[in-house]
Amino acid sequence: METQSQSFVVLPGDAIDPSIIPTTKTKPLRLGPGLRHIPPSEIVPTVSGKLIVDPRKNSMWVEYNSHRYIPSQNDLIIGQIARNAADFYYVNISPYNSNATLPHLSFESATKKTRPQLAPGQLIYARVTLANKHMDAELECVSSTTGKAEGLGPITGGMVFDISLGFARRLLMAKSKDEGGLQVLELLGEEGLAFETAVGRNGKVWVGSDSPKIVIIVGRALKETDEGDLGVDAQKKLVKRLMRDMR
């Protein structure tokens, strides 16, 4: 079976050459998404993608793109309130999946008496605090360490666009231009558009602006960049075209 070709493209069940697995005495090896550890010492990919090995962080994972979100802890997601229960809200994070729960007290300075009243349909930006295959995911809109919202909470105005999970991951990268090859948002900003975005790891991006026209342009630029697998040069062309059409 193929172990290590020039590119590390892996398929489920491929054997990974032990020589490429990073080994240090000080840090434990961290396995990211797409890998499965079969005790005692086998590491097997479960999805097809590119195997990335980071010897500095002593971690490895499979980089791939998909459409169905599987919650995992500390992910930032955009959800929609489905209904209210006694102590928590039910939040829809991806279609045809069971709802996540958002406790009423997981908001900034919320008490039993003062808590945000959210109607069904309300969008929220939240962090996943509990992701377990046997239980529904649990969310929070407040940082449990600082007690501050830190940008999380209900989102008003604007519009949500669906994107692929790989694209959402690229948008959330700290250096999305250098690491993710994404410049489209910066380019739109340079053109003088005023807008704000919130990216959910569950394949949603929210765009807000005073003018609906700008919301549509930014959303369309993001969707076209995602669906057309556009590189940096193509993103520049796309932004130019959209700006010309707007005028």
């Binding site: 079976m1 193929e2 590119s7 493209v9 398929l11 489920p12 069940g13 491929d14 797409g34 499965r36 097997v44 479960t46 999805v47 097809s48 993608g49 590119k50 980089e63 791939y64 793109n65 998909s66 459409h67 169905r68 599987i70 045809y96 999946n97 069971s98 295959k133 046997h134 790989g166 690229r170 993710g180 090859g181 994404l182 669906e227 697998d229 590189g231």
Partner: protein, 254 residues
């Protein structure tokens, strides 16, 4: 259409599905969509593992007993390679739409309800695997399948891979075998009269197609290798190269 055309596949053909694939080989064209893991209906819910739901739709008309049989065979073998334990109470839904078959599907197909349709199995199976890979559903391994028939030629018996519809009508027995990428037998379905020796021969033939070693041979060796299984595509290599194309397109920014 000849039986031994090279396989072709396209991934992600359906934009709204989580994963999809269109596959054509040996006169069959099939489109599959995969959605999942989803929330299972109460009746399908299993506390410890995901339910794999396979739906086969014929090229014309509505599915009947034959399609239900194909579904049950596919369902049980796919449950073995999908990591169903990762998604308790979940559902992985696979819909297969048959688009083209070598026979004329508009006549004679539903005459004999009990008759099974083995030659379409490898195509259905391969399409499922490609669509599951496209949807990034976690799997233990990939798998490949092939159909082999024993055909009587005069007095001599001959094993034929990917038999034509005509050969099938006169075949003594027809077998479908699937192997995982770890060379394990995943599925073995047979129909007709055959001996144990014949089955062993079939097993070796099918294994030769499904489990060809991945080593890239050079020069004369490769020519020899191509010659002894003339016209047979290396399914495992085909799946790998298709996926390599998809991964390269998805991760063009990396």
């Amino acid at each position: 259409m000849t039986a031994n055309t090279a396989p072709e596949a396209a991934l992600g053909v359906l934009p709204k599905a989580d994963g999809s694939a269109k596959y054509s080989h040996a006169g069959y064209t099939i489109t599959a969509s995969v959605n999942g893991p989803l929330e299972a209906q109460r009746k399908d819910e299993h506390p410890n593992e995901a339910h794999v739901d396979v739906i086969v739709r014929p090229a014309a008309g509505v599915g009947a007993t034959r399609e239900r049989h194909l579904e049950s065979v596919l369902q049980s073998s796919l449950s073995q390679i999908i990591l169903v334990k990762n998604f308790p109470r979940g559902l992985i839904q696979i819909v297969l739409q048959i688009e083209e078959t070598p026979e004329n599907d508009y006549v004679n197909t539903k005459l004999v309800q009990a008759s099974v349709n083995f030659p379409i199995m490898p195509a259905l199976f391969q399409t499922c695997i490609l669509a599951l890979l496209s949807a990034a559903v976690p799997m233990r391994a990939t798998a490949t399948a092939s159909v082999v028939a024993i055909v009587l030629e005069g007095e001599k018996k001959k094993t034929v891979v990917d038999p034509t519809p005509k050969q099938l009508q006169t075949a003594q027995s027809v077998h479908v075998l699937a192997f995982t990428s770890h060379d394990e037998l995943l599925l073995a379905e047979s129909e007709g009269d055959f001996t144990v020796q014949e089955w062993d021969e079939i097993y070796e033939t099918a294994k030769g197609i499904c489990c060809r070693p991945q080593t890239r041979k050079s020069g004369a060796e490769m020519v020899l290798d191509e010659a002894d299984v003339a016209g047979q595509a290396d399914m495992r290599q085909f799946i790998r190269s298709t996926m390599e194309g998809k991964v390269a397109a998805d991760l063009h920014w990396k």
